[in-house]
């Protein structure tokens, strides 16, 4: 596991977020987990807006864990923005679904989601899912911008 990995977790449910973070931490994922509670904040972070103003936006997170149901802007909304924007579209996105069915719904949007994990996030599944992405490792091997 590379050293500097930044995970942007977008999850409105406290419990779900907590379990995810614990799961990841337990496995000593030496990571920086940034937790945002809604879609708007997710985008603010990514593009350095409002409370995240001043953040160097070129320092994009290594992976985005995206929950679907969030207040203000929901997961798909965030996804759309991410994939639209030059700055962010290369970032692997892992959708957190609460069921297999949800996965189907999302797939129909054809928004170029990289991976899905059904909550609760099982670390094993998590890393499998990340490895599915493929180029995560490549990115890690490249010097971070």
């Amino acid at each position: 596991m590379p050293e500097q990995v930044e995970i942007l977790l977008c999850e409105d449910n406290k419990r779900d977020a907590d379990l995810t973070i614990r799961s990841l931490r337990k496995r000593n994922v030496n990571n920086n987990i940034i937790w945002v509670k809604n879609g708007e904040e997710a985008l603010d972070y990514l593009f350095g807006r409002n409370e995240h103003e001043g953040r160097p936006v070129e320092n994009t997170p290594t992976v985005i864990l995206l929950d679907l149901k969030m207040p203000k802007i929901d997961g798909l909304g965030v996804l759309k923005e991410v994939k639209k924007n030059e700055l962010t579209k290369h970032i692997p996105v892992v959708i957190l679904t609460s069921s297999e069915e949800e996965k189907d719904i999302v797939q129909s949007y054809e928004l170029g989601v990289n991976s899905y994990i059904v909550k609760p996030v099982d670390f094993q599944k998590f890393s499998e899912s990340i490895s599915d992405v493929g180029y995560y490792w490549t990115l890690l091997n490249k010097p971070k911008k």
Binding site: R15, D16, L19, K26, S98, S99, E101, P120
Partner: protein, 684 residues
């Protein structure tokens, strides 16, 4: 011999001399001897009497008495020859003095031939007489003055006049008075042209008139033109003629009746055509009204009764004037019809009223006020026919036919045919009503169906959303319970005793189970919502994929799958995968833990060749067929969780999917031996 001697001797006619007093023959010539067949001696010994047959002697004596005074011509006498042959002789006698005696000189001439001719003539005459008298008709001869010269007995017999009466009559007297001029002309014609014939009436003495046929032709009798005619009693002929005439008239009447009937049929046909070709009932009825004013009456109107009112639905008049009059009446007195009793009568009783020979005074019966009455009078109604429009035991209206033309009339045939027509019209009207009712009912039904469907859809939607949100929202806390209880197990082992750990494990397991239940429930509910997307695919591909998944679920088991070659199917791949996974899962699951599962998948075509039957056979624990109907119920299980885990929704889901594909699913089993699950898919 001197001349006198030659004259006597050589005379070819028999001659003799006899004494007046004694009648003795004194001298005789050769011709006499030859003729009578005597010798001279014999003949000189005879008297006159000997020359006569015995039957004539009486006559002779009388003659002699008469002739004492003297005569010159003796006439015709029947003489007898020596051989007995009798013949007529013409006797010429002359008184002479013969040797001092008074004698007669006789010259005799054989009249046989003459007599023969005379007899012939007499016979012929008799024959003609008989023929004439027995002529099978009358015959008559008369001249230009009208003098009847000859006629036969038949004339007397038939007319009853006597011979003497007829003598005094003229031909016209035998003719019936009414015919005399005609016959007179015929007679004239006959005298002019030579012939004529005429049929007339013979008048008998009693005054009876007999049909007779007279044929006359002109002939000249004694230098004067006469008409010779024949009359034949033609009474039987006349009778036959009359009968024929009657027959002909009957036939004509029959033909006319048939024609009328034909016309009625044609009319009905036309009406039928109008009804068949015209969609709009009102237009059809107007056309029919027009038709009726051509063939039947001068005015035709149809009224429907609705709510105590009579509404006119069709109308036609034969001429413009009538139309205008009728229109005026209608304009000023639109409710005229209601006031006329006759209409109500027709409506109530449902029977027709036919009035021929309508006369003006009958308008009083209509109970109209003076003004409308005047206008109606103006129409000049000659006859009318009110027919009820009957259908389904109701009288829905009236068909009014009016004739104003004196030359037109309703025929007796019309009644039957017009009633049929009215019934037909009524039927159409009723049918239309029914149709309209149906239509509006349909519309209402449609609307209701739409509303219901909408309601159902909404209800369905609600249900779907409900189950969706239930399962979704239920999941969130479930995740927390599962997650934290897991963490507890992982991170706080040392804080708990065995029992505590045990409890926590149970909590965790149950949350897992709940999650599964929710998942399955969600999947089941989604089944109704999702669109089925079909593709044609080899079933083997699906089965193989499903087998892979199932193998993953039971990593510890060593499963043997035997799959036959399966046909291509057109199905929703995703849904059908679910079915296979569920069925194969079950097939593998329901084994004793120590046994190695064997699952056989086969297929065959159904008997009727319209379905493919797939079968999944296992040799596991099986189930009691007694409970087979519970197999496919939601959350129904035939085993407890201790025996085999499961949610009880897998088969329900499979059934739902199979049903959606138009198939059936069922199972057979024997406890301890295993089970076979079958499902069908339509074979295309």
């Amino acid at each position: 011999m001197n001349n006198a001697g030659i004259f006597f001797e050589k005379n070819p006619n028999p001659m003799w001399v006899f004494a007046k007093s004694t009648l003795k023959i004194k001298a005789v010539n050769k011709a006499a001897l030859d003729f009578y067949g005597y010798s001279e001696e014999e003949m000189l010994s005879l008297t006159l009497k000997d020359l006569r047959p015995k039957s004539e002697i009486g006559k002779l004596n009388k003659e002699i008495e008469k002739n004492q005074q003297g005569f010159s011509n003796a006439g015709t006498w029947l003489h007898q020859k020596k051989n007995g042959e009798q013949l007529y002789m013409r006797i010429l006698s002359y008184p002479i003095n013969w040797h001092g005696k008074e004698c007669k000189l006789i010259v005799a001439q054989d009249l046989t031939e003459q007599k023969g001719i005379e007899k012939l003539l007499a016979d012929e005459k008799e024959e003609y007489e008989i023929i004439a008298q027995n002529f099978p008709g009358t015959y008559y001869v008369f001249d230009e003055e009208g003098d009847l010269k000859r006629w036969n007995k038949k004339l007397e017999e038939i007319t009853g006049y006597t011979n003497s009466e007829i003598k005094e009559m003229t031909p016209l007297g035998f003719i019936a008075l009414s015919e005399r001029d005609k016959v007179q002309d015929s007679v004239k014609k006959a005298f002019n042209s030579g012939s004529s014939e005429i049929e007339s009436l013979l008048l008998t003495k009693e005054g009876k008139e007999i049909p007779f046929y007279f044929k006359t032709s002109k002939a000249v009798l004694h230098g004067k033109p006469h008409l010779i005619g024949v009359g034949v009693d033609i009474s039987p002929l006349v009778k036959a003629r009359e009968e024929l005439k009657l027959l002909y008239e009957n036939e004509k009447a029959e033909r006319e009746r048939t024609e009328i009937l034909n016309n009625s049929l044609k009319l009905m046909n036309k009406v039928g055509t109008i009804f068949a070709s015209e969609n709009d009932l009102k237009i059809a009825l107007d056309k029919i009204a027009c038709l009726l004013t051509e063939d039947v009456s001068d005015i035709c109107s149809m009224y429907l009764s609705k709510n105590e009112k009579l509404n006119r639905i069709a109308h036609h008049a034969a001429s413009k004037e009538i139309e205008e009059l009728a229109a005026k009446i209608r304009e000023q007195y639109p409710d005229l019809m209601m006031n006329i009793n006759l209409f109500n009568q027709v409506l109530e009783k449902g029977e027709a009223i036919l009035q021929t020979d309508f006369n003006e005074s009958q308008i009083e019966d209509f109970n109209l006020h003076s003004n409308p009455q005047k206008m109606v009078k103006k129409l000049g109604i000659k006859s009318f026919f009110l027919l009820p429009l009957n259908a389904r035991k109701k009288t829905v209206g009236v068909l009014v036919l009016v004739i104003v033309d004196a030359n037109r009339q309703f025929f007796s045939n019309d009644e039957y045919f017009l009633q049929e027509l009215s019934d037909k019209i009524a039927l159409h009207i009723i049918n239309l009503e029914i149709e309209e009712n149906l239509r509006s009912l349909n519309v209402t039904l449609e609307e209701r169906v739409q509303t219901r469907t909408q309601q159902l859809e909404e209800s369905n939607q609600e249900l779907e959303s409900f189950s969706y949100s239930v399962s979704h929202d239920l999941r969130a806390p479930l995740r927390a319970i599962a997650g934290y209880s897991n963490l507890l197990l992982e991170d706080h082992q040392q804080d708990m005793n065995d029992e505590g750990k045990e409890f926590l494990k149970i909590v965790h397991d149950e949350t897992q189970r709940m999650g599964e239940l929710i998942d399955k429930l969600l999947a089941f509910s989604r089944m109704g919502r999702t669109e089925k997307t079909e593709q044609t695919i080899s079933m083997n591909l699906l089965v193989d994929s499903s087998i892979e998944k199932v193998k993953q679920s039971f990593p510890e088991k060593n499963i043997h799958f035997e799959v036959e070659e399966l046909p291509e199917v057109t199905i929703d791949t995703r849904l059908m995968m679910q079915v296979w996974i569920n069925l194969l899962d079950n097939a593998v699951k329901y084994y004793k833990p120590e046994d190695e599962p064997l699952v056989q998948v086969t297929s065959q075509l159904s008997e009727e060749n319209n379905n493919i039957i797939f079968s999944i056979r296992d040799f596991g624990v099986g189930f009691d067929m007694k409970y087979s109907d519970k197999l496919f119920g939601v959350f129904q299980r035939l085993h407890s969780d201790d025996e085999f885990e499961g949610t009880g929704i897998g088969l329900a889901l499979a059934q739902r999917i199979i049903k959606r594909h138009g198939g059936k699913i069922w199972a057979e089993s024997e406890e301890g031996k295993g089970s076979t699950f079958y499902f069908t898919l339509p074979y295309k």
